[in-house]
């Protein structure tokens, strides 16, 4: 059908779930309760690395109100789970590998009793040497977190001849960049309500991002068939990649307690429990070495990145794979050698977080690009325009970009929006002063969806009711980003009916097919395409029926404004509801099952060559900052975000993704750091882990660029993650423009901007004191440089 004529696609339609969310009637996981429910709590390790000598639960089990106390030995099926490497334990049996590991479970009639029971479980540990520095962890003599050794991923890209590339260079730029652990900070902490199912098995309602992978683990742990494990998604209070494995372990634990007690079990993490246990965004150490010529051309790139995977593999193999594919940025270079490693440590494990391996490398690449500009006397815009990909360019992995490569367009629009390069030149030449201004630029290309990570397909079911209202269910979940609204709009667009006539159901594993994970910004491009296919199947039937009613051919008919109309003159023949009723009377099928599989991708792991992703998106950010040179405080005063999204299905939602992505990127660049000291978290709540408030985020100018891509529904691509991956380098480049100081470690907080390094206070801090009132911090505040 012709999307251009479609008034619903591209509209800023209201979110389909907004009414419930502004009235308080939307039900999030912790809002569900059942009569006679028990409350589940987890005893966590208390050691970053230790052997479990013994666990004595007898006293806890005898406490009044306690219904069950479980340890690893009580798991009937698989004790481990993991999407790539199955080595994460539901409950630690032999040893604990990070502070968040669980060792025992309690179900009790109240949270208070459950917590009291945790306090009297007697665990004897034998502490083991802790490995917390990923570079040290790579060494042979380092303590091993798992028996197979600490290096568990090594991805490579090899292109051209790196020696020749450096030999033909006029000069070499070499820098090391470091990034930090970042907490997802969804405002909703993890929660589930699990209950015994009518026909055996278990039913779990929860804040679960990827229901199908969590279900597989629950079934394996309880020795159940998949169909006896029903996972239903509650309205999800944000995820950003963070409600995957941590929810899998919570689902498994709650299901085990249901099995042991035969009663419903509710588990809700406090913020402290959430921050202690949950996985984070990977910290990277990135060694970048570029050879370049005086004319600004890059002749060689040698890149070595080490990702701290923490205690478990989680998504590290995939996260670091995206890094290896995108490590050169969108810049042409004939000779590339990239190595990306992921290593185990006794830190919190790291996994999926919005951006998925791109925010780290983009910080390095975009900083390097500004350095290159400095060396050859080009401004940041010129040097990018000189080197960036265009249609027909070949990437570092040998993929030819045969779609509209809009880097020049997005870069120019971002530059124009902020006043680049005029401001850049003026701020650069300004005379010192306490408050200095700067502008910075960054751009990126990003592979859409999963790429060569694995199968990339999704299902949607569209069911038309006899009154013409429509129900859509999908295996792709709405986490708050608005996938439900976009899919409703797509279906409404196919039927020519108002979005209000469409109801989107939260994902239920027992009612739709496994559609893979809702990750990699694939909600609209893959889930939306499945919904479109499903709706088109029903549309064809409905048009058939309408044609019989009107005594004409379906080819003469169209659907618009809630009616079936004659295409030639727009005459209304019957309302959508009347046709639906007739369809039912005639016994014709009123539902469609849509399936969409993304185009094939290829990958040769030995050389790192292949068509890694079926298409790419392009974006550019520009930031203006004011740096207080006395305190190191950086205020972002203006920001322009430009993204080519193919086609915006809902421009308000796209704008919301763009501004929210910048806010999170600003936190990454300036504020946020989940600090672990020898594996022990130094902050466990929002009083210590600071995310941007309304006072920190400047007004953001959003510019949506639309170059429709045949790969997506109605030409749409993706937007969720690209918006979050270049704000930090744009800000850091602006700090350089203001101060001539190159920040190579994130976040660019007061100390790093003012002093050039971070400060640390010895001893436990903040929440750590709650558990250990004895060890008050040394308030004389002796400071020592961060030992990085």
């Amino acid at each position: 059908m012709d999307a251009k004529k479609n008034s619903i696609i591209g509209n800023s339609e209201r979110r389909v779930d907004a009414w419930g969310k502004v009235t308080g009637s939307a039900k999030f996981a912790a809002d569900y309760s059942l009569p006679h429910q028990l409350y589940g709590k987890v005893l966590r390790s208390g050691h970053p690395h230790a052997r479990i000598v013994s666990i004595d639960v007898r006293q806890a089990a005898n406490l009044d109100g306690v219904a069950a106390v479980l340890t690893a030995n009580d798991i009937p099926g698989s004790r481990v789970f993991g999407i790539v490497v199955k080595n994460q334990e539901i409950l630690a049996g032999e040893k604990v590998r990070y502070m968040g590991d669980g060792v025992a479970l309690v179900a009790a009639s109240s949270v208070e009793i459950a917590e009291a029971a945790l306090g009297i479980i007697d665990v004897v540990y034998e502490p083991l040497p802790v490995v917390s520095d990923p570079e040290y962890a790579m060494k042979e003599e380092a303590p091993r977190v798992h028996p197979e050794g600490n290096v568990f991923v090594h991805h490579k890209v090899r292109k051209g001849n790196i020696e020749k590339g450096f030999a033909s260079a006029d000069f070499v730029i070499e820098r090391t960049f470091r990034t930090q652990f970042v907490e997802h900070s969804a405002i909703e902490p993890e929660a589930v309500l699990a209950e015994p199912a009518e026909h055996g098995g278990v039913r779990i309602t929860g804040s679960i991002q990827n229901l199908f992978s969590s279900r597989r683990s629950v079934a394996a742990a309880l020795n159940l068939d998949l169909n006896r494990v029903q996972l239903v998604q509650a309205t999800l209070g944000g995820s950003f990649g963070g409600k995957d494995e941590v929810m899998t372990s919570m689902c498994c634990r709650a299901a085990l307690l249901v099995r042991a007690t035969g009663r419903p079990v509710k588990m809700v993490n406090s913020r402290e429990e959430s921050m202690l246990e949950s996985y984070k965004r990977h910290p990277y150490v990135m060694h970048y070495r570029w050879g370049a010529r005086k004319n600004g051309a890059i002749t060689a790139m040698e890149i070595r990145c080490i990702a701290d995977g923490g205690a478990y593999a989680s998504m590290s193999p995939f996260v670091t794979w995206r890094s290896v594919v995108q490590a050169t940025g969108p810049y042409a270079c004939e000779n590339v050698k990239t190595d990306v490693y992921a290593v185990y440590t006794n830190n919190n494990y790291t996994g999926a977080m919005r951006g998925f391996g791109s925010p780290q490398v983009n910080f390095a690449i975009e900083s390097m690009m500004d350095e290159l500009g400095e060396r050859v006397g080009m401004n940041p815009l010129e040097v990018r325009l000189r080197n960036c990909f265009h249609r027909g360019s070949v990437t570092a992995t040998g993929q030819k970009l045969d779609h509209e490569v809009s880097l020049r367009e997005v870069l120019q629009k971002a530059a124009d929006g902020i006043g680049f390069p005029e401001k850049w030149k003026r701020f650069r030449e300004a005379d010192g002063g306490m408050h200095r201004k700067g502008v910075g630029l960054a751009c990126s290309y990003r592979g859409v969806s999963l790429g060569a990570e694995g199968a990339d397909a999704a299902e949607a079911v569209v069911s038309v009711q006899t009154d013409g209202s429509v129900i859509v269910s999908s295996g792709v979940t709405d986490m708050g980003q608005g996938a439900g609204t976009q899919m409703s709009q797509i279906v409404a667009g196919v039927f020519g009916i108002p979005v209000g006539k469409v109801l989107f159901l939260n994902t239920d594993t027992n009612r739709v097919a496994d559609s893979g994970p809702t990750v990699a910004s694939r909600g609209t491009i893959v889930g939306g395409a499945a919904a479109k296919n499903a709706a088109e199947i029903v549309r064809a039937t409905l048009l058939d029926v309408a044609a019989e009613m009107a005594g004409t051919s379906p080819r003469e008919l169209a659907m618009e404004g809630g009616f079936v109309v004659r295409s030639a003159d727009g005459t209304r023949l019957a309302s959508f509801g009347e046709v639906a009723a007739e369809c039912f009377e005639k016994g014709r099928p009123m539902h469609g099952i849509g399936w969409h599989r993304s185009p094939k991708t290829t990958w040769d792991a030995a050389t790192g060559q292949g068509d890694a992703y079926f298409t790419f998106v392009y974006g550019a950010n520009a930031a203006e900052v004011v740096v207080d040179t006395e305190t190191g405080k950086v205020d972002v005063v203006d920001f322009v975000s430009v993204h080519d999204v193919g086609r915006a299905i809902n421009s308000d939602a796209v704008r919301g993704q763009m501004i929210g992505g910048v806010a999170m990127g600003l936190g990454y660049g300036l504020l946020e750091e989940f600090i672990l000291e020898e594996g022990v978290p130094a902050q466990l709540n929002f009083d210590e882990y600071l995310i941007p408030t309304s006072m920190d985020v400047p007004p953001v100018t959003t510019i949506i660029v639309e170059n429709e891509d045949p790969a997506g529904p109605f030409g749409a691509k993706s937007v969720g993650e690209p918006t979050n991956e270049i704000a930090a380098p744009a800000i850091v480049n602006a700090i350089f423009n203001a101060t001539e100081k190159r920040i190579t470690e994130l976040p660019a907080n007061l100390e790093r901007v003012r002093l050039g390094h971070a400060l640390r206070r010895p001893g436990p801090r903040g929440s750590a004191l709650k558990d250990d009132g004895q060890s008050l911090p040394d308030l004389s505040c002796k400071i020592r440089p961060e030992k990085l």
Partner: protein, 160 residues
């Protein structure tokens, strides 16, 4: 178990009598005892603002208020904004401006905004940002929320 006390207060315009343990917070009382789950728990230390309600017309973090403190006073939660199903201008504006994404911060955000608009007819942007500075949102970047509050203020002002 602590002995309970009987608490009388006004909740969303209606008199309420409830037996509660005196060490429970107002947030516990609303969510666990009375079953009004619109008010959210995000941090329990008064940092995230998801539990914001109005106490005698002013925004408070209900996780930092002990239940007995509300005796004889008036509490309004998100459920009290549209008791008859007709949305208040603030709620309308939040939907209209795309100020809602995951929605977990929304109830608290609405209550902070209501406190502001009840006490300041046409607040400038700076004042709006200050009023919601205690409400964390991880999805939106705040801009559409600020726009929604500005718009609600304008509509309310024009209606007067």
């Amino acid at each position: 178990m602590n002995p309970t006390i009987t608490l009388s207060f006004t909740l969303n315009g209606r008199p309420q009598r409830v037996d509660v343990s005196p060490n429970r917070t107002l947030l516990d009382l609303l969510r666990e005892e009375i079953g009004l789950t619109g008010t959210k728990r995000g941090c329990d230390v008064g940092e995230c603002g998801a539990c914001t309600v109005l106490l005698d017309g002013r925004a408070v973090n209900s996780c930092l208020v002990l239940a007995p403190q509300v005796a004889g006073r008036e509490v309004v939660t998100v459920e009290g904004l549209a008791p008859l199903g007709t949305l208040a201008p603030l709620q309308e504006a939040f939907i209209h401006h795309g100020a809602v994404q995951c929605g977990f911060c929304t109830p608290g955000m609405l209550m902070s905004a209501k406190d502001l608009l009840d006490h300041s007819a046409r607040p400038p942007e700076r004042e709006i940002r200050e009023a919601i500075a205690g409400n964390l949102c991880r999805c939106t970047g705040y801009q559409q929320i600020v726009e929604a509050i500005e718009d609600a203020a304008r509509r309310t002002h024009e209606a007067r």
